[in-house]
């Protein structure tokens, strides 16, 4: 390891470390625009100049372009280097519009910082400035090309790092332009990272434009809860409202970047319709009143019909606090549940995935980037766990061969081989594709849990075990349905699912349901069954921070806090428990209480709308118990009451890995039935934008969901005389649903794929996430 001296300080760094990084380790920040640790060095901006006093190449050098070498002596303060850096900044400012007062980057702008730091404060250049026309880039990203300093970071991220090519660089010399060929929505679901990566204000956050400067916001480290990866975020809140979300670096989880669902999914938290007071039979009451009423009525039903007459339903979107409080609630009352998943098949797949992970086979996303072969089974990262696709791309760029076994028309931003087969053939295909990993040394098997079943997950885990047995550092990477599905799998004690409880309601065994932060209406596949069950209930209690249809229907509605107000612990798909701190105090946003006034003119000691409890507090209250008083006490309580959570004590900045350790997952029956003749199998699948209940509340993301579409294999479409863009009706048992047709050459034949979409109400008709559509019930309604 080379040892060098920078500004008279000695440091030893690993071989291949650039001088700019070595300096950073010493706490010396060398200016940079084009260099970014995730994107690497390209030496374009020339602002990282330092003087090498002793070494192989002496003189002023770009510190991002030279490797630290033994015996090197570097000065960052040498006048020649400093003067050059000042000149570089002066040059970069020649054409800059100096519009900091109206630029959203102002205050956290690298250009601003370095201009001040570099000592360029007086404009000497008297020539004109060239100006550009900006482009409309969609609802998320604002374009302001005049501010550009041509560091090329945007295209390097967009093209090289993330693998999309509708953003690029055109022109030459002082007229290079970073944008699209024509105006239009950026195609990458990672486009929002342009905002973070641009060192100045060319790409800024559009929905939050002009709502605040960085210093106006309370910035809190957060964790994204819009899929199971648990990417790190920074939450910016102001006036009791989340205003903006950014990616936050994590060495283990997401690296630097997040997806646009995670960046823009937070708008549910402050939408006007969000429940903020209690509801009893449609009447608004105080939260306390609703809680006590619910407790009393559940109590009465328990007394009259026994504890098994009350069922409790939760979900994987609740924090570990809420989930464990719910388990405790059932333990102490004897109520049924809590159940955290909807059906046995999907529940068992997720549970099995969580239980199959152990300290040996579990890989983090960053580790996955170093895999040399990847086999993805029934997993569609772009749609199910978007940032995973970025990690896979990094592996592929470094040379990994990637194979996908999946029926869907996968569109991934990297080269891979797609073995398209029907869902029920995945197991077989996996068995025969396993040998593709035989030449690798660090293979990773990625397994999804949305369209697979427990059998396939086990098969994938066995494959990894086998590979490890043969001396490879093989890893298993499963994606789960929700942010805290892993927590649910750890805590579950009742071996049942929502469908089981619904059946018990229908059978008259259960008379009351307490549904806590679960989107049954949205997620439960068999709507008719659900409706029948709800009809039969004596009491439906809903606790939620979303105004879901179920909340509307509930006899008693109790609002709860969002992650931004309550914080909580979430366990991602690799078993990593991560602590989220509340980002703001909660209560009604000032935009509401101040009726648009700015700044708010009334000052009162108590925050209006602050009287809502976190769902876990409500759970304790429903059990008639006093909840722990502080977050810390709650964590201690969880560790004490749940052996699987005892490691929470070791939680640090990287979180802590929790493992199920021999727990048996929820039991499941045989897998999906074979597809009958004369049928096409309809698969409902996750979409990056659309179908994830929380982010569906974000208007800006709904714009990106497009039109509800059904994907068909070309041969199937041809057989039906259907062309891309046609509108077709698919006939279900009880009615028809219409879709625009998309055609793919690389999906499984005999399969129809519908990506979830906020505008498709499939549950009343399909009854399951897989459905066999009779070929004669596919009807063209309209030609393209």
């Amino acid at each position: 390891m080379p040892k060098l001296i920078i500004d008279n300080l000695e440091i030893e760094v690993p071989e291949g470390t650039r001088v700019i990084e070595a300096a950073e380790k010493l706490g010396i920040y060398i200016p940079r625009f084009c260099f970014h640790h995730a994107l690497g060095a390209v030496g374009a901006c020339r602002v990282c100049a330092v003087k090498v006093l002793e070494g192989a190449v002496e003189g002023v050098q770009m510190s991002c372009m030279i490797d630290a070498q033994d015996g090197m002596k570097v000065s960052t303060t040498d006048p020649e280097a400093a003067d050059f850096r000042r000149s570089v900044i002066e040059w970069l400012m020649l054409n800059h519009p100096h519009d900091c007062p109206v630029c959203d980057e102002g205050g956290h702008c690298l250009l601003q910082d370095l201009t001040v730091a570099g000592g360029h404060s007086i404009r000497r250049y008297e020539g004109g400035k060239r100006t550009y026309t900006d482009q409309y880039l969609g609802p998320l990203v604002q374009h302001e090309m005049n501010r550009c300093i041509q560091c090329y970071r945007c295209v390097r991220f967009y093209r090289e790092y993330s693998g999309y090519n509708d953003l690029g660089v055109t022109g030459i010399a002082g007229r290079v332009y970073f944008g699209r060929l024509r105006e239009g929505v950026l195609e990458s679901p990672f486009a929002g990272n342009l905002i973070d990566i641009c060192p100045t204000g060319v790409f800024t956050d559009k929905p939050s434009r002009y709502t605040g400067r960085r210093w106006d916001f309370e910035r809190t480290p957060g964790v994204c809860i819009h899929c199971s990866l648990g990417c790190r975020t920074t939450v910016s809140a102001r006036y009791r409202q989340v205003g903006r979300m950014e990616g936050r670096f994590s060495q283990r989880v997401n690296g630097d970047f997040i997806c646009d669902r995670g960046r823009y999914g937070f708008y549910y938290a402050d939408r006007p319709g969000r429940p903020r007071s209690g509801r009893i039979s449609g009447q608004t009451v105080s939260v306390d009143q609703a809680v006590y009423e619910a407790r009393d009525r559940l109590q009465r039903i328990t007394e009259e019909h026994g504890p098994q007459a009350v069922g409790v339903i939760g979900s994987g979107r609740s924090s570990l606090q809420t989930q464990s409080a719910m388990v405790h609630l059932c333990r102490t009352t004897g109520w049924q549940g809590p159940v955290f998943r909807n059906t046995r098949i999907t529940g068992a797949a997720a549970d099995t995935a969580a239980c199959a992970l152990n300290p040996e086979n579990a890989v983090s996303m960053r580790e996955l980037e170093t895999a040399d072969a990847i086999l993805a089974v029934g997993a569609d990262p772009v749609n199910e766990a978007p940032v995973l696709a970025l990690a896979m791309r990094q592996a592929q760029r470094a040379g990994a061969q990637i194979t996908a076994i999946d029926p869907r028309p996968l569109e991934w931003p990297f080269d891979f081989e797609h073995l398209a087969c029907r869902a029920e053939e995945i197991g077989e295909a996996l068995a025969s594709a396993a040998e593709r990993l035989s030449d690798s040394r660090r293979p990773v098997v990625i397994c999804g849990t949305e369209i697979t079943d427990a059998g396939i997950v086990l098969q994938a885990a066995d494959l990894v075990a086998g590979l490890r047995g043969s001396g490879k550092t093989a890893g298993l990477f499963c994606t789960l349905p929700q942010a805290n599905s892993f927590g649910a799998a750890l805590l579950d004690e009742c071996n049942a699912c929502a469908a089981d409880l619904a059946a018990r309601v229908e059978a008259g065994q259960i008379r009351a349901l307490a549904v806590i932060e679960s989107d049954l209406w949205h997620d439960f596949p068999d709507r008719p069954q659900l409706e029948k069950a709800l009809e039969k209930l004596d009491l439906l209690v809903s606790v939620d921070f979303l105004d879901t249809p179920l909340f509307e229907k509930a006899d008693i509605g109790i609002p709860s806090l969002t992650v931004f107000e309550a914080g909580g612990i979430y366990v991602n798909q690799e078993g990593r428990a991560q602590q989220v701190r509340p980002a703001h105090t909660g209560g009604l946003p000032i935009t509401v209480t101040g009726a648009g006034d700015h700044p708010p003119r009334t000052f009162a000691p108590n925050v209006p709308g602050r009287d809502m409890p976190a769902a876990w507090v409500t759970a304790f209250c429903l059990a008639g118990q006093a909840p722990p008083e502080t977050d810390a006490q709650m964590t201690a309580w969880m560790r004490y009451n749940f052996a699987v959570l005892s490691d929470l004590a070791r939680m640090d900045a990287d979180g802590v890995r929790l493992f199920a350790g021999g727990k048996t997952p929820i039991a499941h029956e045989a897998t999906m039935p074979e597809k009958p003749e004369q049928c096409l199998e309809l698969l409902l699948a996750a979409a990056v934008f659309g179908g994830e209940p929380m982010s569906d509340y974000s208007q800006c993301l709904r714009e990106l969901a497009g039109l509800p579409a059904v994907w068909m294999d070309r041969a199937d479409a041809d057989r039906h005389g259907i062309a891309a863009g046609d509108r077709v009706g698919l006939g279900f048992e009880n009615g028809e649903v219409s879709f625009v047709v998309r055609i793919s050459d690389h999906m499984a034949p005999g399969v129809l794929v519908v990506y979830r979409h906020p505008d498709i109400d499939w549950q009343p008709r399909a009854g399951d996430t897989r459905y066999n559509i009779r070929e004669d019930r596919i009807r063209r309604i309209e030609k393209a």
Binding site: C45, A49, W91, Y125, I149, Y152, A173, G174, V176
Partner: protein, 424 residues
């Protein structure tokens, strides 16, 4: 006396055709080398001869060939750089119009040495005629088995395609050229890896200038000793085509011993200064070299001799200015060219050159201020820290203008106008 090697067969207004070329001994060097020689023979001869690259950088071709490793991957590429966009330079055009087969044979021998099977001639679009000549003559050579499979029954395969550029000065830079060939934006690449290790499509690639390649058959045939002796001085080697232009009576290409004195080039070969002009300065090797002032008038124009004196021979495009020429104006013109042609990759070049241009233009227009002079000097110096050699080249005229002609610059500032223009 003109010692003609490359231009000895120059015909007025037509090329030396294949038959004539062969009759004059053409392709015999290649035939012999391919049949009886080893690839290393070519490389060794060139290295011993001290053949330096004629495209401007003056890097030894033999040394470059030696960096193509024995076990480097295949296929390998032999690229001829016929971009010739350095202002003032027109020797490659003349060479192609004189003896296209000399170039083809040179490429063949160089390719043999590097064991390259693909040859590409990268040519600027302004040279459409030359491109057509080359396409036609390459086809003829192929018909006669001088290109293609198993050339001279040696088992060696080599073929050439002509690649037209879309037209940009930076494309001539050896690594930008590779990106241009790959259909990418022609930004330069930063070595290492060097093109001979990872060039076109990450495969070993040798890039040489037209003139350099044209010397190869002669060196192979006549030997290193002969080549060295062609020069005018002991520290130089070979001949050089000087493209002389500007205020001389007979602008044109003159092939002379390397290191011929500037005064001799101008007076004996280019017909002396035009009109009643007196020599004031010249750019010795294209737009990206330093002005040589009058005190250098008798300097030997060789790579070594000029570099000893702090100048660069570049492409040996000698652009001559007399006392009626405003060097401030000329430099403004050069800076406009460089600012326009910058690839836009790095800051000094993309934004610094327009700044230099603006300052000097103000001076020329009579809006200059005294403080501009140190600014010009400082920033011109800082161009040396750009990503590639473009910006340092662009700064050379400005820097030398301030160094040798500061008085002329200050006169503009003091008078508030260009003293060379008639007062309006």
């Amino acid at each position: 006396m003109e010692s003609r090697v490359l231009l000895k067969n120059r015909k007025p207004d037509r090329i030396l055709d294949l038959a004539e070329y062969r009759a004059s001994g053409g392709y015999s060097a290649a035939a012999e080398m391919l049949q009886t020689g080893r690839p290393a023979d070519v490389q060794e001869a060139l290295e011993a001869a001290g053949l330096l690259g004629r495209g401007g950088a003056a890097f030894s071709m033999g040394v470059k060939l030696s960096t193509v490793a024995e076990y480097a991957p295949f296929p390998r590429y032999m690229v001829c750089n016929a971009d010739e966009m350095e202002p003032g330079t027109f020797k490659d055009r003349v060479l192609i119009h004189t003896s296209p087969h000399l170039l083809i044979e040179g490429m063949l021998l160089a390719a043999f040495s590097a064991r390259a099977e693909h040859g590409i001639i990268f040519i600027r679009p302004e040279y459409e005629n030359a491109a057509r000549i080359l396409e036609r003559e390459v086809a003829l050579a192929r018909e006669q088995g001088l290109l293609g499979k198993n050339i001279f029954n040696s088992g060696f395969d080599f073929d050439i395609v002509v690649h037209r550029s879309g037209g940009r000065y930076i494309c001539g830079e050896g690594t930008a050229l590779l990106n241009a060939l790959e259909g990418k934006r022609p930004n330069p690449r930063k070595p290492p890896p060097y093109p001979t290790v990872k060039g076109l499509w990450q495969l070993p690639t040798v890039v040489q200038n037209v003139e350099t390649l044209c010397f190869v058959p002669h060196v192979v045939q006549n030997g290193a000793e002969w080549f060295r002796n062609l020069a005018a001085g002991p520290d130089e080697a070979g001949t050089k085509i000087y493209s002389v232009s500007g205020r001389v009576r007979r602008p044109g290409c003159y092939e002379l011993p390397m290191g011929t004195a500037l005064s001799e080039i101008i007076e004996t070969h280019a017909g002396g200064m035009a009109g009643n002009g007196r020599f004031k300065a010249c750019l010795p090797g294209g737009a990206s070299t330093r002005y040589m002032p009058e005190s250098m008038y008798h300097r030997e124009m060789g790579y070594q001799s000029l570099s000893d004196a702090g100048f660069r021979l570049g492409t040996a495009a000698v652009m001559v200015f007399d006392h009626s020429a405003c060097l401030v104006g000329a430099t403004v013109n050069l800076l406009a060219f460089f600012a326009r042609e910058s690839c836009g990759w790095c800051t000094p070049c993309r934004d610094g050159l327009p700044y230099l241009h603006d300052l000097l233009r103000r001076i020329e227009n009579g809006q200059g201020r005294a403080e501009f002079v140190p600014m010009l000097r400082e920033m011109a110096g800082q161009m040396g820290l750009a990503y590639c050699a473009f910006a340092p080249g662009a700064a050379a005229p400005v820097e030398s203008l301030i160094t040798y002609f500061e008085d002329e610059v200050r006169e503009h500032i003091k008078a508030g106008r260009c003293p060379f223009r008639e007062a309006e």
